[in-house]
């Protein structure tokens, strides 16, 4: 029973991190129609900033992480996203592949393939006992931070002008422009908010996921792939459905890995085949609801032959 609760809480925490990344990717997709595959490399850059300043005061280190990620986000917007505006979705996606690969290569050349340890706030890794359940502080903090971010984002999107414009642009960019929404301002705002979320993820990820305590050039790549899958499975056209999709993937991975045995020779009897099981489910969901699991009703936005 206590094991079950522990697995459940851990899965919710993992889902929260993936949901954060999903929001970051979904925000930019909303205004730009661009799937940013390089999102994980923003997190990687932030994690390197943290790892290189392990000895500095925590706040300075975190501030540097935010600075690096935001600067890189803005640089990407100006150097890559802006010239690519209006290109076909395929080209944009492959271009962000290339950027991700470029950032990985630079990290590989600069810092080497061997991971660097990230120390942020060691205290948060200690367990706290609630009843008979042992949970690490960071697990609780992750869930609270995610809730805080979503609350702030909801306020931003519903209570501010720029938020309203962002929502308008993601529903119909053309009409929004005709009505006086400045595209560049809205896009830059979305890229910045998305960058802030990437920086938050960069601070949380090394503490929350044990194998992510080492930052290497392909840091957060696996997470990005899973989140992208989750975003499309959930329904990329709306921020809420994209976020739920990201959360579901993280939650599912957390729950599966809590229960499946780690050995077994035949396919699908052991957790080495967990990925296959997840991907099969993904294919099934996409075939049944190509517009997204959490999308609103059946829409004609996705061509169905």
């Amino acid at each position: 029973m206590t094991d079950d609760v522990q697995t459940l809480v851990d899965a919710i925490a993992l889902g929260s991190i993936y949901a954060l990344m999903a929001v970051g990717i979904g925000l930019v997709f909303g205004v730009l129609r661009l799937v940013n595959f390089a999102y994980g490399q923003l997190i990687m850059a932030g994690a390197y900033a943290l790892a290189l300043t392990n000895d500095s005061p925590v706040l300075l280190s975190i501030a540097l992480c935010f600075g690096v990620v935001l600067a890189l986000s803005v640089a990407l917007e100006f150097a890559a996203f802006r010239p690519l505006r209006g290109a076909s979705p395929t080209t944009m996606l492959v271009a962000t592949f290339a950027i991700s690969y470029l950032l990985q290569s630079i990290a590989l050349v600069r810092f080497g393939a061997i991971g660097k340890i990230v120390v942020v706030i060691p205290k948060l890794s200690e367990p706290v006992t609630i009843g008979s359940v042992h949970i690490r502080w960071i697990t609780l903090v992750t869930i609270l931070v995610a809730i805080g971010v979503f609350a702030a984002l909801t306020l931003l999107l519903t209570r501010t002008t720029i938020g309203l414009q962002m929502r308008a642009a993601s529903i119909d960019a053309e009409t929004a422009r005709l009505l006086g929404v400045r595209a560049n301002a809205v896009i830059t705002a979305a890229v910045l908010v998305s960058g802030v979320i990437a920086a938050i993820a960069a601070v949380i990820l090394p503490m929350a996921v044990p194998e992510r305590v080492l930052v290497s050039p392909d840091y957060a790549l696996r997470e990005t792939i899973i989140v992208l899958v989750g975003v499309v499975v959930g329904g990329i056209d709306r921020l809420l459905s994209a976020t739920l999709g990201g959360f579901t993937m993280g939650f599912a991975v957390g729950m599966f890995s809590g229960y499946l045995p780690s050995t077994g020779a035949w396919p699908f009897t052991s957790s080495v085949y967990l990925d296959s099981a997840v991907f099969m489910l993904v294919i099934l969901v996409l075939l049944l609801r190509p517009e997204g699991l959490f999308a609103r009703g059946r829409r004609t936005a996705v061509e169905r032959l």
């Binding site: 690519l84 076909s88 080209t91 996606l93 271009a95 690969y101 997840v278 991907f279 996409l286």
Partner: protein
């Protein structure tokens, strides 16, 4: 007359590939460079195979490397000498463990299996388009990698398969790449190819003229899978060793980037993209080791280690950002006849 001019679209790429093969075989090239030429030709085969589906249908696929992987694994596992199999891959099914085939037979097997796999996968998946299709094909790649990387009854599992005969010489690589180009050309000129290209430009109009888009996409996907399997066979006989990781994310990214850099919309683009990226890769590799005189003179020393990775990535990113339609802008190779160019500018896939 016009028919012969159109043939230039085929002859251009073929002649370029012959040239690559001939230059690679000449003595004045460093013998150590020969393998780079063979690698470039195998890349052309993989990228053109990918183009057959992505270019003609306008639907993105992140899953084609799974067909390359299936081809590579079957060609690799089936050509390891029978005597060595009990030590290298003890877990194999007896059918696989007790038999081996020759080089040509293994390529044929790779082609057939790649095609059948694509056909089976394509029947449900070809109903999707856009991002859903991209993610679904990626999921296929994920499943393929996961199983090849773990199941020891059909391959080496997480280990490396070694002692695969290295039979992809310059002649085989050249002939193989040309064969794939000819198949791709024949397909896109056939009625099936034209129907699919029509659906790429305007799916509603295509359907209204009676084109069954699902069926046309499926044929292209199966053909593309078969050619990918064949290219996988060439690849494994080039490298001599094989790990599931070799035919996963990096290769997916590289082949897609080559295709988009050249221009998704044309066969010529696929060939140019694969050759351009391969050439740059080799050039930087040699510059890093200080073998290219003028670079060493210019910089004062060999290029710093890792400039190859960064250089190739920068090249791809810059081409994609500045020329979103690729180096060829999605046009086929043609002899310079301006009045024709006006009437037949190829549009790229969306």
């Amino acid at each position: 007359m016009r028919r012969y001019l159109d043939l230039a679209e085929l002859l251009g790429p073929v002649l370029v590939l012959v040239l690559v093969g001939v230059v690679g075989s000449m003595g004045f090239v460093d013998p150590a460079l020969e393998i780079e030429f063979r690698g470039a030709l195998v890349s052309v085969a993989m990228v053109v195979a990918l183009y057959v589906f992505v270019g003609n249908s306008g639907v993105i696929s992140f899953g084609h490397v799974s067909f390359v992987a299936v081809g590579a694994f079957v060609a690799g596992v089936m050509t390891v000498p029978v005597a060595l199999k009990p030590t290298i891959t003890p877990g194999l099914f007896s059918l696989l463990g007790e038999h081996s085939v020759g080089n040509i037979m293994s390529l044929a097997l790779a082609t057939v299996l790649g095609g059948v796999f694509a056909l089976v996968v394509g029947i449900p998946l070809m109903r999707l388009s856009g991002l859903a299709a991209g993610i679904a094909t990626f999921a296929v790649l994920g499943v393929t990698y996961n199983i090849l990387n773990n199941w020891e009854k059909i391959g080496p599992g997480p280990l490396t398969l070694t002692t695969i005969p290295e039979t992809t010489d310059l002649l085989q690589a050249t002939v193989g790449a040309i064969a794939v180009v000819i198949a791709a050309f024949a397909y896109q000129r056939s009625r099936y190819g034209r129907k699919l290209r029509a659906s790429r430009e305007d799916s509603a109009a295509a359907r209204s003229t009676g084109i069954d888009i699902h069926r046309e996409r499926l044929w292209a996907f199966a053909l593309s899978g078969a050619l990918s399997g064949f290219a996988g066979g060439l690849l494994v006989h080039l490298a001599g060793t094989l790990q599931a990781r070799d035919v996963y994310l990096d290769l997916t990214f590289l082949t897609l980037a080559m295709l988009v850099v050249g221009g998704v919309g044309s066969l010529w683009g696929a060939v140019v993209g694969a050759l351009a990226v391969s050439a740059l890769d080799t050039f930087l590799l040699k510059a890093e080791s200080g073998e290219i005189g003028f670079v060493a003179d210019l910089v004062g020393k060999p290029l710093w280690g890792g400039s190859r990775l960064v250089g190739v990535a920068i090249f791809m990113a810059v081409v994609l950002v500045l020329l979103p339609d690729g180096l060829t802008r999605g046009r086929e190779f043609r002899l310079s006849t301006p009045w024709r160019r006006v009437s037949q500018t190829g549009e790229t896939a969306s």
